[in-house]
């Protein structure tokens, strides 16, 4: 049904017709966009009753590196949910969270390789690698972790040569952990198949699965056949090619997608399917497929609008979305699968009671749709450099929200988190709120961004990779201007699409496009955990007076002098944290005149003096708030006649009404 809609309402009789019309493969992308280094041909069957997957895959991998590969690395991510000894759990525990504390026996998950063979060119088994397969834990030496395996190859794979592997495996779904798993009849299937690491200059880049980090793999072509109960809706990376009967009560759905580096899918009998087409001048059209929870039936337009906004603005700012189709999955309640990106498919996340004019679900939908660009197309190593996609995307999605979804009021929830209340006095701002200044402020100095993501202090991945980066990029935007910043990011996007950039690649692009050297900036925001805080130390504006011994014809003589009609304004600004950034100092005088000084912000303090015929009324350091990483902006300004008393009175009285209401609420008990 979905395919016929895409073809303008033609009713197609079946699979054969679809294949003929589509030239054998429906995805819009026919010409290789990527190196297609690791290609997967997968058959998998879901048994909902036992929550198990049984699968077989043929991996065709080409060594694009500069040296021979003597072994392979295969990820078995679901083993993170095997028991409380996995590195994933241990990292969660270090963050103060014990996800397996009360987990029933049936809710743990695992993945086991049943067979592992090297195939000859004709497809027959050439070598059995299963006996050589072993679990490795290069990152934390946790011998109980089973999320990464290695096996020596009988014959090295030289650069340019291709390896074909045949793997069969069995996996059991964990119950809704970390964006994969099952609950009820809802299955979200991600990081589900044995997946190769990335073979790079220095050998294999493959890490265990940690709570802090996400994923990294090579581009390739995925041809996946998923067998599920008949009548269940399937959503997956790519486009459905065919649907065939797989025996009593079961149907096989075949999806294909090339030039992607992962494959995720979902199935449930409950999805309500919607379709819309994104069309915008100058950008390729995209078929949007939305799999919505029935209870969110009224929110289809919000999901489509948010996805379309991401496709439009990211497309205009950075580069077009090339795949022609995208699937939005609205996750089931309690599935813990919301807010996650996969190539050409992502999960949103909404609430049954979701007031308009608060960007829920828009914020998460824009963010995950945006990941199609930062992660999907520009495919950095999320395990080690997660900030390159998460932070870039946070920065960009915040800008999209600002462009397309205003007002965005603060909303909080009461009564067990179900009843929302929208604060129409508090419209969230891009610079601080949707860039999550609060989050950065909480943990900005807990670790450095240059620490490999999987090694970040547990619980700070979001504060640093997402929010510090967003604030850092927005600071650059304010310093360089949006046009330049957009050009930097567009150049980086174009240069690194369908590749795996490193942080240095971004730094080089920035320096090249701006023709400036920003090493000083990244030394602080990337290679150190320095915080920034500039403030006004002293601000006075008084008549110019002097007293003491002054020159006179008779020699030094005592005098008291007042310069009539002149005032001396003295400003002392101070750098209160280690971070250094050039800032302006703006003094406003009583007649409206302003004086602006530029301070390089290097030394700890700086004094400015202004002699004017009027008194100053205020001073502000970084008045345009270019340095969004400044964690304390209240001390950035001073006024001669501040409204402090009025503000303090107003807010303490407002608070008092709340307190009185609390007293009256508890008076119920007496």
């Amino acid at each position: 049904m979905a395919v016929s809609k895409r073809l303008g309402g033609q009713v197609l009789a079946g699979t054969v017709a679809i294949l003929v019309l589509a030239g054998g493969e429906r995805p819009a992308v026919q010409t290789p966009l990527s190196p297609r280094t690791a290609n997967y041909d997968i058959d998998v069957t879901l048994d909902p009753g036992t929550r198990t997957l049984t699968g077989g895959e043929t991996i065709t991998w080409t060594n694009t590196g500069a040296m021979a590969a003597y072994s392979i690395r295969l990820h078995l991510y679901w083993n993170a949910f095997r028991n409380s000894e996995s590195s994933w759990v241990k990292q969660r525990q270090l963050a103060g969270d014990d996800p397996f504390a009360d987990t029933p026996a049936g809710d743990f998950g695992y993945s086991e390789i049943d067979t592992l063979q090297v195939l000859a060119e004709d497809g027959t088994p050439a070598a059995d690698l299963k006996p050589a397969l072993r679990y490795i834990s290069p990152d934390d030496q946790n011998l109980d972790d089973r999320s990464l395996t290695a096996a020596e190859l009988p014959v090295p794979i030289e650069p340019g040569q291709t390896l074909r592997l045949r793997v069969t495996w069995t996996g059991r779904f964990p119950k809704n952990f970390d964006r994969t798993g099952a609950i009820g009849d809802y299955f979200f299937v991600s990081q589900w198949f044995p997946k190769l690491g990335v073979f790079e200059t220095g050998g294999w880049t493959a890490h265990q699965f940690f709570a802090n980090s996400e994923f990294y793999s090579d581009f390739g072509r995925y041809d996946v056949r998923m067998t599920v109960p008949s009548g269940w809706t399937v959503g997956a990376t790519g486009v459905e090619q065919s649907r065939s009967d797989a025996g009593p009560g079961r149907t096989t759905h075949r999806y294909v997608q090339a030039d992607v580096h992962d494959f995720a899918w979902t199935t449930s009998p409950d999805f309500v399917e919607h379709q819309q087409r994104f069309e915008h001048e100058g950008l390729p059209a995209v078929d949007m497929r939305l799999l919505l929870q029935p209870e969110h039936a009224g929110q289809a337009d919000r999901h489509f609008a948010a996805t379309a906004a991401a496709l439009r603005y990211y497309g205009e700012w950075f580069g077009p979305y090339p795949y022609g189709h995208i699937t939005i999955v609205d996750p089931a309640f309690q599935s813990d699968s919301g807010g996650m990106e996969y190539p050409t498919l992502f999960t949103g996340g909404s609430r049954w009671w979701a007031p308009r004019q608060s960007n829920d679900p828009e914020a998460v939908v824009v963010h995950e749709a945006g990941h199609q660009f930062w992660y999907g197309i520009v495919a950095n190593n999320e395990t080690e450099r997660g900030w390159l996609d998460e932070g870039f995307n946070e920065f960009a999605d915040s800008r999209v929200q600002w462009e397309a979804f205003q007002p965005n009021y603060l909303a909080q929830r009461f009564f067990g988190g179900f009843v929302p209340w929208q604060f129409t006095d508090i419209a969230l701002k891009r610079a601080t709120d949707t860039n999550w200044m609060n989050s950065y402020r909480r943990a900005g100095d807990r670790d450095t961004l240059s620490t490999p993501t999987f090694r970040l202090w547990p619980g700070t991945h979001q504060n640093l990779s997402y929010h510090k980066t967003a604030l850092m990029l927005h600071t650059l935007e304010r310093r360089l201007g949006w046009d330049t910043m957009r050009k930097v990011m567009a150049t980086f996007f174009d240069r690194w699409k369908f590749k795996h950039p490193q942080p240095e690649d971004f730094f080089a692009t920035l320096n090249e496009v701006t023709q400036q050297d920003f090493t000083w900036f990244f030394d602080q925001v990337y290679r150190s955990s320095n915080l920034f805080d500039y403030g006004i130390e002293r601000f006075t504006s008084e008549p110019i007076k002097s007293r003491g011994l002054m020159d006179s014809p008779e020699g030094p003589a005592f005098q008291e002098k007042t310069v009539e009609g002149m005032f001396r304004t003295t400003v002392v600004v101070r750098r209160l944290q280690a971070g250094q950034f050039p800032v302006d100092v703006l003094v406003t005088f009583g007649n409206g005149e302003q004086a602006r000084e530029s301070w390089d912000g290097l030394v700890r303090w700086q004094q400015y003096t202004f002699d004017r015929p009027v008194k100053a009324v205020s001073v502000a350091i970084d008045p345009e708030r270019v340095l969004l990483l400044d964690t304390n902006s209240t001390n950035n300004s001073r006024a001669i006649e501040p409204a402090t008393e009025a503000a303090a009175t107003k807010w303490s009285l407002r608070w008092m009404v709340w307190m009185q209401d609390l007293l009256m609420t508890y008076a119920f008990f007496v």
Partner: protein
């Protein structure tokens, strides 16, 4: 006496006791004010002479607010956006319904208010039961007469509420609710489960509240010394007079009307004195509703078992003890 008659009679009694309304309102002001002053100082210190104060004075300066919260301690930590407008009501009612703990500094004021209320409630009931002005001396004399009795009753009430809020609540919301929604994939269903559990929880809480209300009424009207006896008598009265429940529901409806009124007029962050005035009007109405519960329950009880204005204890006289000054010389 019918439910409606008791309700109307209660309203009239409250109307005839404006000083009582003012006094109870004042008790909330006096208890909240010291912390408000502390908060005022914290806000003032944090703002310093910053230009941020201007925006905070004129409207909501959310950037500054977040900075303040990030650095605040003590009472300052309770200065959150949810104190704004009607969210304040949601936060407080939701906090009770979810048995959310209070920060120590806030809890100490709440406890002080409960203690003050326990002292004042005897005088308030006495005033409402007699339905005539007694003067400050008479009022506080009654407060003094009943405070120890109500302290004893309060211990029993605390035990009952402790059972409900610590044990029943935990069982309903920490065990039953997670079990009910364990495999649920529909939030709407979870929402209705939770709302249903609130109702289930509210029933015993309101019944306990109702019984203790009538225990206090009987203690005052019948001048009961034994609080176990008063509690037993209160329960008996509730059981034998379903009208008590109807009256409670009617008073609850009045409470909802007041809440609804505040929902419509609750000020946001823009205005200043008018907002404070509206807030105080709302608090006064809350006091009126609180007294209306008591007054209408007294009226119903008197209507059913005694007569309007009947109070067993003689009118207090000041001084009512055989003090030496009262005896006088040569007697």
């Amino acid at each position: 006496m019918s439910i409606l008659a008791a309700f109307i009679d209660g309203l009239r009694r409250v109307q005839r006791a404006p000083w009582l309304v003012a006094g109870l309102w004042l008790s909330t002001v006096l208890l909240a004010l010291p912390l408000a002053v502390m908060l005022h100082d914290q806000i003032g210190t944090h703002l310093g002479s910053s230009l941020a104060a201007q925006a905070a004075a004129e409207g909501v300066n959310y950037d500054w607010w977040n900075e303040f919260l990030a650095q605040a301690s003590g009472v300052g930590q309770s200065f959150v956006p949810a104190i704004l407008g009607f969210a304040a009501v949601l936060k407080n009612v939701s906090g009770v319904a979810d048995a959310t703990g209070l920060p120590l500094v806030i809890a100490s004021v709440v406890i002080a208010h409960l203690a003050a209320s326990m002292f004042l409630v005897g005088g308030a009931l006495d005033r409402l039961a007699r339905d005539r002005a007694l003067g400050a001396g008479g009022f506080f004399s009654a407060c003094g007469v009943y405070v120890v009795r109500f302290l004893r009753l309060g211990v029993m009430a605390a035990a009952a509420y402790w059972l409900l809020f610590v044990h029943l609540h935990a069982w309903l919301f920490d065990r039953l609710y997670p079990w009910l929604i364990e495999d649920l994939t529909v939030e709407r269903t979870a929402f209705f489960y939770r709302m249903a559990l609130y109702v289930v929880f509210a029933i015993p809480v309101l019944l306990v509240n109702l019984v203790f209300d009538y225990a206090k009424v009987r203690a005052v009207v019948e001048d009961r010394r034994s609080m176990i006896g008063a509690l037993s008598a209160g329960a008996r009265f509730v059981v034998r007079n379903p009208a008590t429940i109807g009256l409670y529901a009617l008073n609850s409806a009045l409470f909802l009307v007041v809440i609804g009124f505040y929902f419509l007029v609750a000020p946001g962050g823009a205005s200043n004195l008018l907002a404070f005035a509206i807030g105080q009007l709302y608090i006064v109405l809350r006091v009126v509703v609180r007294l209306q519960f008591a007054a209408s329950q007294v009226a119903l009880f008197q209507g059913r078992l005694a007569h309007a204005g009947y109070v067993a204890r003689p009118l207090p006289k000041w001084p009512d003890s055989p003090a030496a000054e009262a005896i006088g010389p040569g007697v």
